[in-house]
């Protein structure tokens, strides 16, 4: 089992991360999730500022990955979350999960994203043409994370 958790300003390369996981001879299935900076319906978004809690961030992400490992038989997990200023269309976050079975890979990747959204100390501030504002947490993200604890 190889775990890699990174919090960084720099961009990441999905292909590199995928190749690293796919090299594991035991994983027949690799699922990746990538989140990108997109303009919301209102329009006018220029970019996002991502604040985090240095020290806690890596720990929170590692805890989430370890919880996923307990629930599914995984071969490798990579989580990369960027911080700092990100322009429109830039990559924000990547989760890649390798497993022997596709359902484990899908479930674990989805679980990690749902928990990351509610448990990892990141905060987004939108920079729009009209000014700046902090993004509010979504009730739907909270509900998504809660579904997993009911399944436990």
């Amino acid at each position: 089992m190889s775990i890699s958790v990174r919090v960084q300003q720099e961009d990441f390369d999905l292909a590199t991360e995928y190749q690293r996981l796919a090299q594991n001879k035991q994983c027949g299935a690799v699922v990746t999730f990538t989140g990108l900076v997109r303009d919301s319906v209102e329009g006018g978004l220029r970019g996002l500022e991502l604040e985090h809690y240095p020290g806690m961030t890596e720990k929170a992400l590692t805890d989430i990955v370890e919880e996923a490992q307990k629930r599914w038989d995984l071969r490798g997990v990579t989580v990369i979350h960027r911080v700092g200023y990100l322009s429109l269309n830039e990559q924000i976050v990547m989760v890649a999960v390798a497993s022997g079975h596709r359902q484990a890979a899908f479930s674990a990747a989805s679980f990690i994203m749902d928990y990351l959204k509610t448990q990892a100390p990141f905060w987004k501030k939108e920079h729009t043409e009209e000014g700046e504002h902090w993004v509010e947490a979504k009730q739907s993200d909270q509900q998504a994370a809660e579904q997993w604890s009911q399944q436990q």
């Binding site: 989140g35 806690m56 924000i92 990351l116 509610t118 990892a120 905060w123 902090w134 509010e136 947490a137």
Partner: protein
């Protein structure tokens, strides 16, 4: 002495990223009460948002116990990913 950190909109509105609290408190909730009594700005800003907290970098309920030397962080719900 307890180190208190603030993040995101809370840090911005308080104009403060970190402070030290030297008070006899046993939970994060009590710590928040002490801060609110310290200044009007704390009183106003700490009531404005749904408050989450981390104790020694673990996301925990506000009822969590704290002791001298702990690092407590207060922040609004997270919005990463």
């Amino acid at each position: 002495m307890i180190t208190v950190k603030f993040f995101a909109v809370l840090r911005e509105r308080l104009g403060l990223a970190e402070t030290q609290v030297d008070a006899d408190v046993s939970t994060v909730q009590e710590l928040v009460q002490v801060l609110k009594q310290q200044s009007e700005r704390y009183a106003k800003e700490l009531d404005r948002y749904q408050l989450l907290c981390a104790v020694n970098q673990n996301l925990l309920p506000l009822t969590t116990e704290v002791k001298d030397g702990d690092e407590v962080a207060l922040f609004p719900p997270v919005t990463g990913g």
